[in-house]
């Protein structure tokens, strides 16, 4: 997994509430046996029409908006527990998803795949959407160590919560296997004692 420390990025706004994992990656794309290649089908049913042509008014097809931060409406990632949703977001290139609420399982899946879900207040979210609408080059800065996010258009800063174990993993670019490998001494000590 890649390290995550700070990120300053322009934003891709998706001001829709209750975006479920079926929208993030539709079920028909789950057959692959590897974790790669899901980014191309992120939000597939909003992004492409029946003939596979990009739908021009969907935000991912709008060249004005770009960046590694997805800003989404409340309750992002509900529905099925499929990890593919996180693979699709990571595969597309998102490193941060900002919302005022995330579904539990999605949050875990995202963290396991190097995507940081940042929970902000409703007011912060609203102001951020407004700022992006006024100026699409609006940036945010996320500092994981300090657990802060700032709206660089207004200068407003908020702190966010994250599980300390998961924070360590992200800061050092470690996943569960890396974590276990880093505990080799403890494992060997356990073996000696038993």
């Amino acid at each position: 997994m890649e390290k995550f420390q700070t990120l300053t990025s322009t934003c891709v706004p998706l001001p829709i509430e209750n975006v479920d994992t079926d929208q993030i990656i539709p079920a028909r794309f789950l057959k692959a046996t590897t974790r790669e290649g899901f980014g191309a089908n992120l939000f597939a049913d909003w992004r492409y029409d029946k003939s596979g042509q990009p739908i021009s008014n969907f935000v991912l097809n709008n060249p004005i908006y770009s960046g590694q931060a997805l800003i989404a409406g409340k309750n992002f990632g509900s529905g099925s527990s499929r990890e593919h949703a996180a693979w699709a977001l990571a595969g597309y290139g998102f490193k941060v998803v900002v919302s005022s609420f995330f579904a539990d399982i999605f949050k875990g899946n995202a963290l396991n795949n190097g995507v940081l879900p940042v929970v902000v207040s409703d007011v912060f979210l609203l102001e951020l959407f407004a700022a992006i609408q006024v100026d699409p080059t609006t940036t945010i800065t996320v500092n994981l160590e300090l657990q802060t996010i700032s709206n660089n258009a207004s200068g407003v800063v908020e702190t966010f919560e994250i599980n300390p174990y998961k924070k360590e993993c992200l800061l050092h670019g470690l996943d569960d296997i890396d974590y276990l490998l880093s505990k080799k001494d403890a494992i060997e000590a356990w073996e000696k004692a038993h």
């Binding site: 569960d176 276990l180 505990k183």
Partner: protein, 484 residues
Amino acid sequence: MKDIKQLRSKKQQIINYIIMTKRTLFDKIWDAHVVTAVPNGPTQLYIDRHYCHEVTSPQAFDGLRKRGLKVFRPEKTTLSPDHNIPTLLQNQPIKDLISKHQVDTLTRNANEFGLTMYGLGHSKNGIIHVIGPENGLTLPGMTIVCGDSHTSTHGAFGSIAFGIGTSEVEMVLASQCILQPRPKTMRITFNGKLKSGVTAKDLALYMISQLTTGGATGYFVEYAGEAIRALSMEERMTVCNLSIEMGARGGMIAPDETTYDYIIGREFAPKDEAWDNALAYWKTLPTDEGAVFDREITFDASAIEPMITYGTNPGMGIPIHSSIPKLEDIDPAGRISFEKAMTYMGFTPGEKIEGKSIDYVFLGSCTNGRIEDFRVFASFVKGRKKAEHVIAWLVPGSWAVEKQIRAEGLDKILEEAGFALRQPGCSACLAMNDDKVPAGKYAVSTSNRNFEGRQGPGARTLLSGPLVAAAAAITGKITDPKNI
């Protein structure tokens, strides 16, 4: 006043201490395997034994390759292909190419990573959950995992055994550890004795019908009580095997003389001084009196009758002489799925299940594919004849079971009654090989899942113990074995 307060808090401390020092079987094994506890995170648990089959492991080995890792403790992992293998002509190449590819991949991975594998044709090959205990690889006090939900089988020895996902298989291969949140504990006590003609499978099907398929979700279950203590090791394995069908993370039974008698002398079991040391440790494992479980349930074992399922999940079981529930007996929330199950099975709510004609009988699987199951089946069919229209698949759980069947002459008894033995594997339990029940046909099966399509597209499965299966094979109908 102050003194009284102090005294009270002292008393509370003592009570807390007593509660803390009284530990369950689960607590003792879990605590002994904690390598580190991640602050505000999961526990890093050491794994003593890791079993692998061909279906859930390829991506895990690929992961190791991508990271340039070796298997950390190769001697603690044992491989056996079981899900995809044919039950006839195992000496010939597997015809189904996807199956062959999976089995070949397992062989390649075993060779590349230096792991022990009991491949096709090996005298130790068989269903992984059958061969582990058979060879003395499964022992009390162990933590045991496998990328397979029925890993719970091994809990019968007084071990913490549970199924894991492919990414966790990779963790175990890489570090001999996994990260796990600690589950809650539940004790299910069976008081009294089982009636004669009632098997461990009936006990389990009864329990699941009472608790439903989600009734133990989030819990690790310990089975206790007179009826459990009276079970043989193989019967205990049947009960623990089915824990997962009520959603439990795993099931376990405290080790006792029955356990030790079963293990002693098996190939990989400890010997001599190591045996004495192990035994002394195992005897400390049973749950302390007064230890607290998160949930306790009690059943009366003497009330249990021979069971059979009528629907499409293992919780839809009834005593064989009773009737399928009427629609109004079903909780309103479950009526739609009940009606769906009725349509799939071709049954009418409220009708009797006994006397219904069946087409297939499957004796086998990690639930009921061990020697005792074949003994029960053979003793019932002895001197009788298989119903002509019934197709019976008798599939030993391993080559060792097969050998034992022949050594005891059970094969002769079965043959005289019109049955033929097949070669070991998972077979019709999940029908990944050629042993598929055709659409619309009824199969009385000693396996563990009656889901739609589990035994083949459109197949209609009725789960039962080996005795009910034997009776069905003889009469060609659903029959209470007592009535023959």
